[in-house]
Symmetry: C2
């Protein structure tokens, strides 16, 4: 049985594209598929991308009152795993509880630093630059009912350079997000990483090694270059 | 004129040894020297090491009431720059103010995460392991009157592996500390990194790149291996 994945996104969908690239396109991985995409923004690039791929979509309001509709949609599409890929709202508490250990998020910094309410999108990178730190990164974590709070699945570091702006840092972190998220989703989808009863992550995620992350970052990747170009031209 | 450095340390002095190795031993760097070492622990390995090298030493109480004695000692030894290398006490506020931009500390995590009062030594690594994060590291920062608060000079990341304990993580971070601290001290001592009037760090520190940090970590280094052996046998 394939793990059926729902992706929730608010933005232009570059992380969704990275997921499609990893799980589909010609040689789909046998063990997981993206079965449903929802957004709180009807004009989200993520929805357009899902429609192109003939994946079911929905527009949701993005509030706590989404709970019954979202639960019904997830049921209808027989969703096993929810991935928040640049989803800028809090998932309804009832949904987070029902999907405990089967709902995950990517955050564009090294949690527990630079997370929490109001810390999303460009705001994260502005805060990192303002704090003057020299290392940031990306974090994939299980979702609970508190913003950016759940147990950590994977993190990869990214250097912050002296001349960086929030925009240049965002692009560097985004490249790591595109590499990290699909691999972390695959690890959870296939059960090689799990959330245990005590709230600890068990199992292992392949290569949290920064050197490996950097080797991947250095690799030419036309699709990632295209994503970055699109993001810059928003 | 050589920059005269004072080192304050509470522990076994492995970071002091890394500083001696960088700034002295046969081919001393012309622009800086370690001129004075103080500790709040009379049995500190750092003091023994300094005596071996015939560097002036003192035992201080490690409290706010150190201020007049410490100020007099720093004056007597014509100190330009203070380095806290595993110093587990807060420097007296008057000294921190007088040396603004000329006093720096190393912390065994990626600040602003896992810092603040009570977060020192092994406690830091216990907290990192308990939090389940996958990236930690070392931070060198200017010191102000608040624990682990001053502007960041340099950070290098270190992976946290699934099987890590506080002890195994401490050793991995310590290797980065030994590489990072002397280079950051040299950058401040020579004026290539400075704290400006607004509290921002200006200038550039060479290579905060995680890939470079990892390349250095992978290198065989007999002295670092010896430090680690000593630390394990404490």
């Amino acid at each position: 049985m394939r793990t059926r994945i729902a992706v929730l996104a608010s933005g232009n969908g570059s992380n969704l594209r990275a997921l499609f690239r990893f799980f589909g396109e010609g040689a789909p991985l046998a063990d997981a598929e993206i079965a449903f995409v929802a957004s709180n923004r009807s004009e989200s690039g993520a929805l357009a991308l899902a429609r192109e791929r003939r994946v079911a979509t929905a527009v949701i309001t993005g509030g706590e009152d989404d709970a019954p509709v979202l639960a019904a949609l997830l049921d209808q599409h027989r969703i096993d795993l929810i991935v928040l890929a640049g989803y800028l709202r809090l998932v309804p508490a009832a949904v987070a509880r029902a999907f405990r250990g089967r709902i995950m998020n990517i955050h564009p910094a090294l949690l527990p630093a630079f997370g929490g309410p109001g810390m999303y999108g460009e705001r994260v990178h502005h805060a990192v630059i303002a704090a003057g730190v020299r290392v940031s990164g990306a974090t994939v974590h299980f979702v609970d009912e508190i913003y950016d709070h759940g147990a950590c699945i994977a993190q990869w570091p990214v250097p912050v350079y002296a001349g960086d702006t929030a925009a240049t840092l965002a692009l560097r972190v985004l490249r790591v997000e595109h590499l990290l998220l699909p691999r972390a989703v695959h690890a959870v989808a296939t059960g090689s990483v799990q959330l245990d009863e005590t709230g600890r992550v068990t199992g292992s995620f392949p290569s949290p090694d920064p050197a490996a992350a950097y080797a991947l970052l250095a690799r030419e990747d036309a699709d990632i270059a295209r994503d970055i170009t699109r993001l810059l031209s928003r």
